[in-house]
Amino acid sequence: MNHTPKRITIVEDEQDLLANYQATLTKHGYQTQGLTNLEAATAAFNETLPDLVILDVGLGHQADAGFQLCQMLRQKSATLPILMLTARDDEIDVVSGLRLGADDYLSKDISMPHLLARIASLFRRQEANVAQTSQAPLEKGPLKIMLDNLQVFWQEQLIELTVTEFWMVQSLARYPGQVKTRDQLMHDANVFVDDSTITSHIKRIRKKFQKADPDFDQIDTVHGMGYRWKP
């Protein structure tokens, strides 16, 4: 805990859920601000930016208000950590397809400890960026994993991974050739989702790498078991 508490703004239209998030975060030493609609959020963000933003995708009847806010925020600040909460699994695909620049996408039913861990890691990534402190990067051939600012490079190109995806790549690539089960990946990435969500995460990771290198084929599916990074 820092002596100056971090300010977190939560935009969530469900009052009760918002109150619960706020209660949890406050209890853990964060200063929170709760906003329930697009207009209030826009006004607030125009005034001042917090240290981290948690966005719900759908606000009231505006199904994509979260996307608009995310875009606006990214224009205002390139480094502000943005965490998006989605109610529907397929929204993750939509969100990542839009390349809005959110730092992570989490399912709304994430447990509080997981959410706290995720927030902590986002702050860590930000601080590492700012401080330029260098923990030794993990290098496996053309893959370079910057553990301090949670960045991944493939053939010297930055791959824009969300935090969840970063942890998965890190978990797979740390021991190439070893099969990681879905459970292990979930554990390493600090998410609690079903198998098919892990499958779609892996798919997205492959796509992001393939965007930088069309020949990318490092992640093997081992049917019945999980995935492995090719040695």
């Binding site: 009760d16 529907r88 509080m112 019945g224």
Partner: protein, 608 residues
């Protein structure tokens, strides 16, 4: 009975209408013809009486031998082939003759029964004597019996030519006479039986040749007959053997000649008795009179012919109409049956391979009942489609809608737990909420999978290869798993990812039900055009009473309760994927306390 046959039967029944019309016309024609015949018979009666009276007045001049006209090229050969139209005159039981005429010249064919041939050239022999009478007097020709061949006439008798022909029981002589105005004739045959012993027969009376008169037509008769012959009628006066004494005809207004086709149609459609001659041109009536018969040929006059032609025309046009109607009915039946068949086919192929319902059916724009039926079915299908779509999305919608309240419960409980770390109620509530979340995730995963199945493109892959790859992974998890691969590539159409998922489920199922002491065996083999993939394990049995529901969703027959709830979606998903591959998934208890799951699917048909 097929629809087109039903309509065909009705169409054929509709032919009964022209049939009744035809019967009516036929009986009309019959009455008409009968009245003509009756009138002709009365006429013939009248003519017979006047002919008899005229005959009596003219000394019975209807008598004498009538020469029949012969073909001009008739050969003189003793045979009777060219004489077939001429009846015999029987003189005695042993002698008969025929009389003919060619170009005004008389010709005789005499047949004599005499099976004792006497041909002694110097002495006695059989003889045929022909006596001829004309106005100048009498001439006697004597022909001696001889061998087959032309008769050489003696010099004074040169006015004839003859040919001798021996038959089985006698002889036959053909004689061509040269005197044109012959009016009497006598024939005598002498049969020599032995020396000074002979028999004569023929026109004989007291051993004298009796000359018989030939018939000579009289102009008074011809005039008389011309007077009494009615219009459109022919009269033939014949002797008892049918030789014609007199012929007279009165053509009247010569009716326009009528084509043979019309006559043929009349014969087929109207003639009651096809065995008798044609009634088309008229009728023939015969009336006997002493010494012969009178034949009356009554021809149809122009009015009668046109009436008959009208009959034919009416019947023909009604039949033509009926045939056109019949063909029309049949074509209509075919079209109707074809449309219904097409609708039926369309309905059968409404569900495509991937489970999409196509709502477009044939005949959808038709304004008739079949169109209504098609539209009704389309509407029903689209309702089913909507409902299916709704059901498909229900899982994900439900999980989406429930996610927020569950999140509120969860975050509330978690906050509560932070304050009261050892409250058992909070603990239990969190556990239950955790399960609820899991169930929701499973349901949404299932609906996602259904969507993935619907969207996955089919490719061809080698199941044998895929299985070998998978088994390596499985064996690291379950060392008690053995694998028996197929001895050749098994090309299958579908998705290798989905197939792997299916196998994951089956193998996971087997692992869950076994301990490392049991066996799990996997085998793949080709059988005809299909493949059989079997996953069997020992150590467990299927609940036989629930066998039918084994592959249903949300059905689980597991005894042990893990900390993770089990929804029984595994085998349901496996079944979904099997269906996508057009394969059948079945399960059975094998005898030795073990269970086998069998996937039976088609091989890829492509040659390449």
């Amino acid at each position: 009975m097929k629809l087109k046959w039903q309509i065909t039967v009705i169409a054929v029944l509709s032919l009964s209408f022209p049939w009744v019309v035809w019967l009516a016309f036929k009986s009309l024609d019959q009455t008409f013809q009968t009245s003509i015949v009756e009138a002709a018979q009365k006429q013939a009666q009248v003519i017979v009486s006047s002919v008899q009276i005229f005959n009596q007045q003219h000394n019975d001049s209807l008598s004498g031998y009538i020469p029949t006209a012969l073909a001009s090229d008739a050969a003189l050969d003793g045979a009777d082939t060219e004489w077939s139209g001429s009846p015999w005159y029987q003189v005695t039981p042993r002698m008969r003759f025929k009389l003919g005429q060619i170009d005004g010249q008389f010709q005789l064919l005499v047949a004599v029964k005499d099976d004792s041939s006497m041909t002694d050239p110097t002495g006695q022999r059989d003889q045929l004597i022909v006596a001829l009478g004309d106005q100048r007097g009498m001439q006697k020709l004597t022909l001696n019996r001889q061998a087959e061949g032309p008769v050489i006439a003696s010099l004074e008798q040169a006015a004839y030519q003859a040919y001798w022909h021996e038959t089985a029981d006698g002889y036959q002589v053909e004689i061509k006479l040269s005197n044109p105005d012959l009016w009497r004739l006598g024939l005598v045959a002498i049969d020599h039986l032995g020396p000074n012993q002979d028999v004569s027969f023929g026109h004989l009376e007291d051993q004298q040749i009796q000359l018989q008169a030939l018939f000579r037509p009289a102009s008074s008769w011809l005039d008389f007959l011309a007077q009494i012959t009615p219009e459109d009628t022919e009269i033939n006066i014949k002797d008892s053997a049918g030789r014609i004494y007199y012929h007279s005809s009165n053509p009247g207004d010569n009716p326009a000649s009528i084509g043979w086709i019309t006559e043929l149609i009349y014969e087929l459609a109207f003639d009651q008795n096809l065995a008798t001659g044609s009634q088309f041109n008229g009728h023939q009536v015969t009336q006997p009179f002493p010494g012969g018969e009178i034949e009356l040929l009554v021809n149809h006059n122009a009015a009668q012919l046109s009436l008959i032609q009208n009959f034919i025309r009416s019947v023909l046009s009604i039949f033509a109409l009926a045939v056109v109607l019949l063909v029309g009915y049949f074509v209509y039946a075919l079209i109707l049956a074809w449309r219904i068949k097409r609708l039926h086919k369309g309905l059968q192929s409404v569900l495509d391979e991937r489970g999409h319902i196509s709502t477009a059916l044939p005949s959808g724009h038709a304004k008739d009942e079949i169109g209504d039926l098609s539209r009704g079915m389309s509407a029903m299908l689209s309702q089913i489609n909507d409902y299916t779509e709704y059901l498909k999305q229900l899982g994900s919608r439900l999980s989406h809608e429930m996610k927020t309240p569950i999140s509120i419960v969860n975050t509330s409980l978690e906050n509560l737990q932070m304050e009261q770390a050892d409250n058992p109620f909070v603990e239990r509530a969190l556990k239950a909420n955790h399960r609820l979340k899991f169930i929701l995730n499973q349901l949404s995963a299932l609906s996602q999978l259904k969507q993935v199945i619907a969207e996955t493109e089919q490719t061809t892959f080698d199941l044998n290869n895929l299985l070998s790859d998978l088994v390596t992974g499985y064996q690291s998890q379950a060392p008690h798993l053995t694998y028996q691969p197929a001895d050749q590539a098994i090309k299958v159409k579908g998705s290798p990812e989905l197939m792997a998922q299916l196998l994951d489920k089956l193998v996971q199922n087997a692992i869950d039900f076994t301990t490392p002491k049991d066996d799990i065996s996997l085998s793949l083999e080709k059988r005809n055009n299909r493949y059989l993939l079997q996953v069997s394990n020992s150590g467990s049995q299927l609940p036989t009473e629930h066998a039918a529901q084994l592959f249903d969703s949300l059905t689980s027959f597991r005894d042990q309760r893990d900390d993770q709830p089990h929804l029984g979606l595994g085998l349901y998903i496996a079944q979904l994927i099997a269906t996508y591959h057009q394969a059948e998934l079945s399960a059975e208890n094998t005898t030795t306390n073990s269970v086998a799951f069998v996937l039976n699917g088609p091989l890829c048909r492509d040659k390449d």
